[in-house]
Symmetry: D2
Subunit: 354 residues, 4 copies
């Protein structure tokens, strides 16, 4: 598309929406024309989010009530930062109006309406679109994103789990069964909603697991793993809430496909893993492979679209442990959506992101 591309954000008052505003205001090839929010309708953007007041473009923006016709008139590409279920209500008519839609909700991430119903507990509102949507994980669907009309941007946990596992699974380095993903998430992941559970004094000085053993994000994680593995993959996933604003740290417990029996075999396997990751990610601008002396730390990725990945083989247990760190709101949500936007529009993939 021709720069600048006119863009809209539907649901711009939540954490992902706010981050989209930040990224798109500073984007060299996007012109943010519309921000909507039922709650903040009528309010100037700079009033609701004072931190944007210094961006010249932000000064004329005002939250609007979300109206499909007016959104479609003012934007070629529309970002949906809405709850699942609600997103589909906007995606369908916006696509009919000819807009490209980048949906940050879970509504179009699954290819199977029955799985959606199993995990999200309501019938899928637009099952006919499921096969047309592209899963917006650029490192794996770059080609499809280029010509997509509807991009389903991945969830925060799935991104932190899929990027480290997919290359290993694709090359058969690990077994597809027995995978365990243990994740720690910042509180922004719960969204900007009034809920006693997420009050400062409830989360600070607290660490707790939640939403397991059957978290909703399992559905898209297992879909993508199964696709690459060529077999049905079922994983264990335990999310935890920790007192940081941002960031997901994921620890993955994996079984090498071929057991190593001594230091020589362990070294050989290590070299295979290194090569595998290099092949997959050495040229990826947002994937940072750490060496054997460094470990991922969420503070190294906060505010950026990068994911850090490191791994260790354990001589005592024979396991491969892989760790990743990302900003749940950037690479795990809004940054990744902008990365897809760049690909979709033919801009350099890092535009507005580095």
């Amino acid at each position: 598309m021709k720069s600048p591309v006119k863009v809209a954000i539907v649901g711009a008052s939540g954490y992902s929406g706010e981050e989209l505003v930040r990224l798109l205001l500073q984007h060299p090839h996007a012109e943010l024309t519309t921000v909507t929010s039922r709650q903040q309708a009528g309010q100037p953007l700079a009033k609701v989010f004072p931190k944007f007041a210094s961006h010249q473009r932000a000064q004329s923006l005002r939250f609007a009530d979300p109206n499909v016709d007016s959104i479609a008139q003012q934007a070629e590409v529309v970002f949906l930062a809405l709850p699942h279920g609600v997103a589909a209500e906007f995606a369908v008519p916006l696509l009919q109006h000819g807009c490209r839609v980048i949906d940050l909700s879970a509504d179009f991430r699954l290819r199977n309406a029955a799985t959606y119903q199993e995990f999200y507990a309501h019938e899928h509102p637009a099952p006919e679109l499921l096969t047309k949507a592209v899963y917006g994980l650029p490192e794996y669907y770059r080609e499809e994103i280029k010509s997509a009309k509807l991009i389903a941007s991945p969830g925060c946990y799935p991104t932190s789990i899929l990027l480290p596992i997919l290359p290993l699974l694709r090359e058969g380095i690990i077994k597809p069964n027995g995978i365990i993903a243990d994740s720690l998430s910042g509180v922004s992941g719960a969204g900007r909603k009034a809920d006693v559970d997420y009050l400062f004094a409830e989360c600070n000085e607290s660490a707790r697991a939640y939403g397991f053993p059957k978290h909703r994000h399992l559905s898209e994680i297992e879909q993508e793993l199964s696709k690459v593995a060529g077999t049905t993959v079922t994983i264990q996933f335990t999310p935890h809430l920790i007192p940081v604003n941002r960031g997901i740290l994921t620890t993955l417990y994996l079984a090498p496909a071929k057991h190593f029996n001594n230091a020589v075999e362990m070294k050989a396997l290590g070299e295979q893993i290194t090569a595998c990751y290099k092949t997959a990610y050495a040229h990826e601008p947002f994937v940072r492979l750490l060496d054997d002396q460094s470990l991922p730390d969420t503070k190294n990725v906060t505010g950026t679209n990068c994911i850090e990945i490191a791994w260790r083989l354990d001589a005592r247990t024979g396991r491969l442990i892989v760790l990743s760190a990302e900003d749940n709101i950037v690479k795990g949500a809004s940054g990744q959506a902008v990365q897809s936007f760049n690909i979709l529009c033919g801009f350099p993939e890092t535009s507005g992101l580095i």
Copy 2:
């Protein structure tokens, strides 16, 4: 009263109520018979607050809907941990039933119904009780508390401001005008209520002032200062919210009544201040006077009923700066209420508190 005294907590699901539960469960002379909460009615206490499950007494307690008759039947002393306005609705009938009432709300802290209306924006619900209530600041109203029927436990900010200032004002060491109180409070001070402003991700990595220049607590602070000064005292008060669960740190800017002009006079004034504080507080179990090498730190008082006080004279400006640190929920609320309870019942004042 005869130990153990049967006590009830009305509104036991907020932060002050929860802390009252903790203190009264471990109190050697109290028997907690009733905890009420509209929201949690019917729930076992140990279910709502798992941390109390290990206290044997807690295991049989269940939240009840607040009912005056049944509270009065089961408790001799009733603690009200309710919003202002609501507290009076319970205090009036409970007093008629013969209960002693310790109210943690603002409803009975003022002696003047018009001032209440000015600061709390509604007519006082029971003005006839205002002259009968005792302001529950033990260091100043110990005698009155002994025979009180209704104790109005002070606010968190007022406690942190009054205890450091009152002795100086009483002895005429500082001028009654021009006082500035700058306070930092933990987020628990905002209460356990669903409000986006107090979400973890809104308060963490944030510092902000709020509720000034006319915060409600000014009314009781100025009432007590004026009483001791013998003249109308108007102060400047700026509360700030900082990302800690608990604690208030107050910095007071005061003008010595007699200006010092040199090191000798400054030293003499310092000795006078030291003597003044020693006279006032050396025997107070919960007031900790720091020496000239230490400064108050909220982490030293968290979870305790103590307040730390330190002061410095500034040779450059001629001002006296006094700092205090307390736990807003303990000395600033529930601990102080239990201290009053001990006095009221004739128990050692530190029972259940050290």
Copy 3:
């Protein structure tokens, strides 16, 4: 022993030492006579830790240089809160002087000097004591503790891992192999030492793994698991650092010994697990078994000697997931040491702890 028992704390200026001071000052059957610290020698206790200034007993205490003779003269029971390696230097002569020693370091937790050398990288300083020391996990070594001369109090991570696993392993409910322990720890676990890695601005807004795959605590964890399992147990253990002062949350991934194939078998296994935990812990004052609607949260145990345990069976993966939460400095260190002290001296086990 006869109450009050005279006690000393060697190394009282670190986090565990400070917490021992707190617990022993308020202990009804202990008289804290000596606190030592090379760094703080000569300083009044109340000066170094202002928060203890309000305890009457604390006012006469002063940090001493650690001297075995004078410690032995003034204390019947000595708590060592020293780094590993250093602790043994004090334990040996103190035992010779007839003191009972409760060591919070790792020096006497292992029964095998070679394992010590493997994990702690130096020769064991007093291997002859290894067989005489009792591992101070009261829930499993209560009888041995009663007559112990030297108690090796368990590490923080081991406590959080052993208490949930041991009953399951003992009853053969889980397989001894394939165990994964994923733990999150507060920063106090790193000790009160000047190190850039643990500065506030390095830890806040950060989550990271460290010290794996071969953390030192593995040695004592595997020793105790192996003993109960009757076979050599090797586990996977990944500790993480999260920005809380206190608390360890551990997530355990376990394989039931007998696979369940349907809801009926799953329910039966669940009942077996419930029964197993009840048998093991229903009468333990510091182990809190949560129901199937609650999950452990570090904030529920902070400042207490309790550990929370909950479990879930995953119908999708066949795994048993068990979670625990404890205060790393209390049940994970000083509180557990005091619990052993109570047992050793014949006092009620909860003295000074609830």
Copy 4:
């Protein structure tokens, strides 16, 4: 100067240095050629700070031992992020080599060597440069910065205090005496140095004052206020440490030059203040004037070079209260230094900063 300008950062491993790296790596007109650090000499930049690894330019950078000759060869403009005293040792020879120097330390902020000695407790190492250095507060010294050889970038507290006060003082709206500045700072302000006082577990859940009543920053604050007031100004300043990584919130207590006696006069004064701030800052890209419904919050400025300013008149006390929020490491240090760099080199002032 001609873009890109070659720049060096001396002392790049502290918090200010690291932030300079971030800002200069993404700067469109700067080419970062040299980063020095005694501690990290020889290490690749991307190894010490993994978060920069994704910047292409960063990949070839390696920390060097600071050597004046080689720095001067490789850079036209040199940023010094060194402790006071040390900075002057580099500034002098670098200036002789013809470099422009932007010093973030306190070494050249004062015009008077005696004042330096009074506040910094050692003789000034290069007093002859004091009159040549320009105080790098762009909003007030823009013209002088353009031709400066040596820019003394202001301290973090001074920036947060001077920007709100200077316009009021210049226009005579407030009295020059009696000013009180009460500031809250994040822990990064203490620098990246191993010190027990700044450990996570010492700062988290803590609030405390420090370094008053005679903090070093008073010297430059009073120098600048006095200059604008045309009379010697002595202020009260109390810094506090709060548990955030970044940010300074300052509350200023000011006395209007002309007392207002009623609502009409108060309104008139308010309009005068509004006009004064608009005149001073409406066109400043980094000063954000808030309206009467908003208050500064550090979270709105974190990571940006903006300062938020708001004010309130207090009808009860007659005082003017002004609040400001800034990121102590950006507008309070490295961002402001880059702003000066932009002015010095003739680039748009917001280059690399918005």
